[in-house]
Symmetry: C2
Subunit: 435 residues, 2 copies
């Protein structure tokens, strides 16, 4: 899988620009392109950078096979094709580590090299960062809402089959406990889980009608009493009784996937306790989002299964990051189109925090400039790190687990308004010290 070329996961105009620049001699100018978001989507108060590792991997696999070149020969001249044949990225990439928080204007990734080698990476880099960041940024809101309870990602069926794998990874990065997606388990080591669907209960229908007990017996025979039984196929009260009947009081959990989950959780908890199954957990699922997860906090729910709203970004399915040319041969460049201005120059970011660890401001300065002065009583942390140097990985790439740790640390460092679920302003301001 990782051996595949990523060179055609891109937009045609990148190659037509390349062809024109090779012809007029500007292709070799040293450029910096910057990935940033003009705003956080949908009134969010912070974002979580995700997809960095996948983007760096896509850059490494940005090589041209014969079939790629054949396809591009439809519209590219021989010289450009010859240039692509030899291509591999040899530039530098700096940026935020995966799992880092970001805010409007944060220079999330900076790609420096010749115009030719940087311009053609635009689409695939943005696709990955925009998707994974949207999912991770949504997932952390659910993690916060769940307040320490388990969260299982189970949205694969509601999104593109490959986006599903990346979503499972991004959700885990953000603090989810597990995924249903098996490819994410294989490829990224995300813990996977799963027991049964309504179909399994319905399958156990005989000439005499439904036989929920047979389904439960079969599941327990295969998976043991620690499993989770799905109790809402027919009647929940009946389902819970049958479940404890068949499994005994050591049944691992029951899952409720429909109805008013708060009311049902209370009823089921009472019923389980009355049946002596006081250690049996309650799992709920079914159209949950961060708001309904938060609303269920006061109910006897032990863990949540989340699908659609996670993989669709709960109203913000893309992070809206852009990839803009900011520097040519050491000179800052910027476009002036209305409402789409860019700020010129290669940048880096520093985050100021109080002694308590609470962040107060992000300062964005030119990469080549002196570090900004640190106000009294604050500490400064360099957010930008080197990721690729001369096309090769710089320093040890953080693991998914390390990124997950960074997310957890980041959430703890936010001022309290930052964790509020309602729409609002970014949790901390970004200040440009670049002019």
């Amino acid at each position: 899988m990782t051996a595949q070329s990523t060179a055609l996961l891109t937009d045609q105009y990148e190659y037509t620009m390349l062809a024109a620049a090779l012809k007029d001699g500007t292709a070799q100018r040293r450029c910096t392109f910057e990935v940033f978001a003009r705003k956080l989507p949908y009134g969010r108060r912070y974002g979580i950078v995700a997809g960095t590792a996948r983007a760096l991997d896509a850059i490494a696999r940005f090589r041209f096979t014969d079939d790629d070149l054949r396809s591009l020969s439809r519209f590219l001249d021989k010289e450009t094709l010859r240039w692509l044949e030899e291509f591999r990225f040899r530039g530098d990439v700096t940026g935020y580590r995966e799992g880092e928080m970001y805010f409007p204007g944060s220079p999330v990734l900076s790609v420096t090299g010749t115009f030719a080698e940087c311009v053609i990476l635009e689409t695939v880099v943005l696709s990955i960062l925009n998707h994974d960041t949207a999912i991770a940024s949504t997932a952390t809101r659910m993690v916060t809402a769940a307040d320490g309870r388990g969260l299982m990602e189970m949205g694969s069926r509601r999104t593109h089959e490959s986006a599903a794998v990346a979503s499972a990874r991004a959700a885990y990065l953000a603090g989810f406990t597990a995924t249903s997606n098996l490819e994410a388990a294989r490829q990224y080591g995300v813990p996977s889980a799963g027991t049964s669907a309504h179909a399994f209960t319905l399958l156990h229908t005989g000439a005499d009608g439904p036989d929920e007990a047979a389904a439960f017996r079969s599941q327990i025979a295969a998976l043991g009493t620690a499993t989770t039984l799905l109790v809402d196929t027919y009647d929940i009260t009946e389902g819970v009784r049958t479940a404890v009947d068949v499994a005994g009081p050591d049944l691992g959990a029951v899952r409720i996937d429909s109805g008013d989950l708060g009311v049902l959780a209370r009823q089921v908890r009472q019923q389980l306790d009355d049946l002596g199954a006081s250690r049996t957990k309650i799992v709920v699922s079914g159209d949950l989002d961060e708001y309904s997860i938060a609303a269920l906090r006061s109910e006897p729910v032990d863990s949540y299964g989340v699908g659609t709203s996670l993989v669709t970004g709960s109203g913000a399915p893309t992070a809206g990051m852009v990839y803009k040319l900011t520097e040519v041969d050491g000179r800052p460049v910027a476009k002036r189109s209305s409402s789409k201005e860019t700020r010129g120059g290669s940048k880096r970011a520093v985050r100021f925090a109080r002694d308590t660890g609470t962040v107060v401001e992000e300062v964005i300065c030119l990469a080549a400039a002196e570090p900004p002065p640190v106000p009294m009583s604050l500490t400064a942390r360099e957010v930008t790190v080197s990721l690729l140097r001369g096309g090769e990985p710089d320093a040890e790439a953080p693991t998914l687990e390390e990124g997950r740790q960074l997310v957890a640390t980041g959430l703890k460092s936010l001022p309290w308004e930052g964790l509020v679920l309602s729409h609002g302003e970014p949790a901390i301001p970004t200040r440009f010290a670049t002019e």
Copy 2:
């Protein structure tokens, strides 16, 4: 690419159910699973089925490699693994052709075979249909809004890198003219296009500052005067003047990517005409959705470039289809969970239309039942066709172009309320003749 196994693009519970069913002997029961949507998303009036060809391809590639089996051995017993080793789908699939309209309850796809072979296909089939259908159903609204003008898909950067390819395909199915995505061009033959970005203009910055004319000259040298010049990097009026200056009055088109597109299109049209470039077209892009496309109908816009709103489904990023067990050994089965009821039995659909071709009703009946009586003055069309028989393709699969034709015909057959962009009820009712 097409050789890859799809067997792990799935949820763990499908394999744990399989393991339990193999153990208790129910795995061989003959089952039908049905893909349908309980409702259309977001007040839409119709949906367009898309992804069918990709789903059938994914079923054909649902085979287990050694690496797949090794990964599954984490939680599956030897017998189940042995069963998977030999697996290939040998059942039957019926359903709607790709490009067909659908409504709430339409039996979009029915998968019949043993429980074992059908249950494990759930996630990958749903992922594909839910994603592609969401995009195609959004794209047709844009096609209708554009009222015959060209529509270019350019949203790759705003969605997962593989979802981008499927989105480009779905948009073309729905009637878009072209895509920026090169992998969609290679893999599916979607016409691709693209010229330049703001970066190319900014690249042409020298010691004396910006040099828009140099950028335009370079692009024309490489792509000819029929190209599209992006005129809004600095000042649009200046950009248009420079464009015609450099290219002459035969310039193909100018693109405006920011600002009030309606006002700017009018100004630019006037300016182009005054400069003698009356055949130069105007392309607009920048955060367009079906509503803004419709709003620009009265302006001198020749074609639209659409990105984010298309690939995110313009508010409806997933079609919300489900895969439900409806029949076991010839007996209808149905779950009774509140608000998630299912209707038992294998089904097919017939659509009634007036002589004029305008559809009036979709009738869903049991697959084995007599066809429903056709009311006087109406004609009936069988919507359900056979797609796979014994695991093999049944009849010639429709091409992407044929699906595109089916979409166009379908849109023409809708009652006029069906094409209204505002939220509302489905354009025609679905009636169940199954009870």
